[in-house]
Symmetry: C2
Subunit: 360 residues, 2 copies
């Protein structure tokens, strides 16, 4: 194994090294068939098996009920921002949104093109440093769904428990899917771009309750109806084959690691290590309020932008890469998804301790 | 090099072996930086350079004028079927379409949701065995554009010269882009899924004249406006990084091969070899009329479906794979895109000769 840096990037992000090695082999010669993985027809039995396995592993790992479809779509989570209201809302229909960061803000903007959108909560004025408690919002009674972002990548906040609502939930889980068990049956739609916890960029996983497939207005473009993709097992048109393959290999790795329960324990331990380092001195300040802290993205500040720049540069020299915070809030951010190794967190904590002593 | 089969699949299709080898190395450890290519943040300087190089190579190889943008989008060519009319048409606006196969048929269906569509020519009744001569259609004078599919993958037909029109051309070049020089300045939009001549599935290249970016109605979802992607260099949201990387490597290979002029010569030679074998006996019958024959996809029939099945099976045993025709017309099809080696065509021609003698 060549020397690997610790990659704290928010996505595309660190993947299991074993998956990279498998992909490297399969790209050149898939299962010694004399053809590369990315040269396989998507209609070949080899690739159909790849896609089928990826779907089955997601179903198993998240205990997806039988009345849900698992789709592999393109266009990123950003395309779900409009596809969801386009398929589920329309003239006179309402949905409630919780605004907890950049991504929910963007989703609200797109949803307003297709329905009556109530924003029941916003932490925008507090720089999105928290997610709401259940008693801090009211879901409009005639809402088709309650929309929320389960983990806010930029601000480092996360819903510990899923929100309360009488209607179905719809959630952007791009940055924490498969990091912990969830009760899928409470959701109408769960979606996630793959490039954080599932694989490379280029595929978006959508888990959708079957009855919702029938809701789309007739006059939607074919490619924008969920039903189009559900009816054809995500093969209505050529799917992003390589990204789907990688998702399957990451899911296989995840199962070998003990599944989402085991992953949750490790993620909690990794996050606890890092937050302890932040709380140990006044030198570091976590962006998120404690009750809202994310296990996946840890956003924090140092006493000055100059020290933050120095911190990021010196960390990079130590092989601790990608610690720069998002341009919208600055500071530092450590993204520690499923595949990010505990040793990397330990190295960062050691570095933080040293840096604080030398510069505090 | 392990033994490679000859892969005649219509797409995803054969790629240059050197590109597969490069990708295999870079996936595990990109430029010895200790991080895999598919783990790189799309905002990192390393990946920005990858995307920039891919774009510049496409510009160079196709001599794309400065007033055109080159975009890397998701959703396949199928998403362009609706994005084009959604961005360029609207209430009372007209476009003319030439219907030369399955893919133009689908494009027409989607376009009708957004404008007044005139189908000026259709070869549907002749099972799409030809494309029109210039004197066989009239472009409606108030058309915003003339839409055509430059190469019809399923039926094996191709426009030798681009259609005549006073308005701008819009073309789906998914299956023959970069196989020959084109005059980009006659086009408003050229688009192509990558998985035939450019790389793996998962990215669609769109070449669009800059003034068209301003035409979209305000109420389109953000992700469906070309301008969104053009303004952000295809990085409004996380792009399909791996597919873009591969496109860049294939473009680099293409330049090394002598560019599109050299490629056209080789493609003409490969196609001539194969059509000669078809025309040599009555045993094989080409689907396309001679003047409309494609250099990229050669569709043909044998005397019976039973012989066709036998032909495909015996060819596969010889390492000549993927020769089954599309389900909509049956028979056989050999897809011989840029990266398909001449030796594979020679081997197929030898096999065809032997098979005809043994079964004729």
């Amino acid at each position: 194994m060549p020397e690997r840096i610790y990659n704290f990037s928010p996505g595309p992000a660190t993947l299991p090294y074993s998956v990279l090695q498998e992909a490297a082999k399969d790209i050149v010669n898939y299962k010694d068939r004399g053809i590369g993985l990315i040269e396989l027809s998507h209609r070949s039995k080899e690739f159909m098996a790849v896609a089928e396995e990826a779907e089955q592993l997601i179903r198993e790992l998240l205990a997806v009920p039988d009345n849900y479809k698992v789709l592999f779509l393109q266009g990123g989570a950003s395309s779900q921002f409009f596809m969801i209201p386009m398929n589920l809302l329309g003239e006179g229909k309402k949905a409630t949104y919780l605004n907890t960061g950049t991504w929910s803000n963007k989703a609200i903007k797109e949803a307003r093109l297709f329905g009556d959108i109530e924003v029941a909560y916003s932490s925008q004025e507090q720089k999105f440093n928290r997610v709401p408690r259940d008693d801090e919002y009211t879901v409009a009674p005639d809402s088709e769904y309650l929309y929320f972002v389960s983990n806010n990548t930029i601000y480092g906040t996360q819903f510990k428990d899923m929100p309360r609502a009488d209607c179905m939930l719809v959630s952007d889980m791009s940055s924490d899917i498969l990091s912990r068990p969830i009760d899928v049956s409470r959701f109408g739609i769960i979606f996630a771009g793959a490039q954080k916890n599932m694989g490379p960029a280029g595929v978006t996983v959508v888990i959708i309750r079957e009855d919702l497939l029938e809701r789309a207005p007739d006059n939607l473009p074919t490619m924008l109806k969920y039903k189009t993709h559900a009816d054809k097992g995500s093969m209505f048109n050529t799917p992003p084959c390589f990204a789907i393959y990688c998702v399957g290999r990451v899911m296989n790795w995840l199962r070998e690691q003990g599944g989402v329960e085991a992953m949750q324990r490790r993620n909690e331990e990794k996050a606890a290590l890092l937050y302890s380092a932040i709380d140990a001195t006044d030198f570091y300040r976590g962006h998120a309020q404690k009750e809202s802290r994310s296990m996946m993205n840890v956003s924090f500040n140092l006493p000055s932008p100059e020290l933050e720049a120095k911190f990021i540069a010196e960390a990079a020299e130590q092989g601790l890469d990608g610690l720069k915070g998002h341009r919208s809030i600055g500071g530092c951010r450590a993204s520690i998804y499923n595949a990010f190794p505990r040793e990397g967190v330990e190295k960062l904590v050691d570095f933080m301790d040293r840096f604080a002593r030398e510069n505090g």
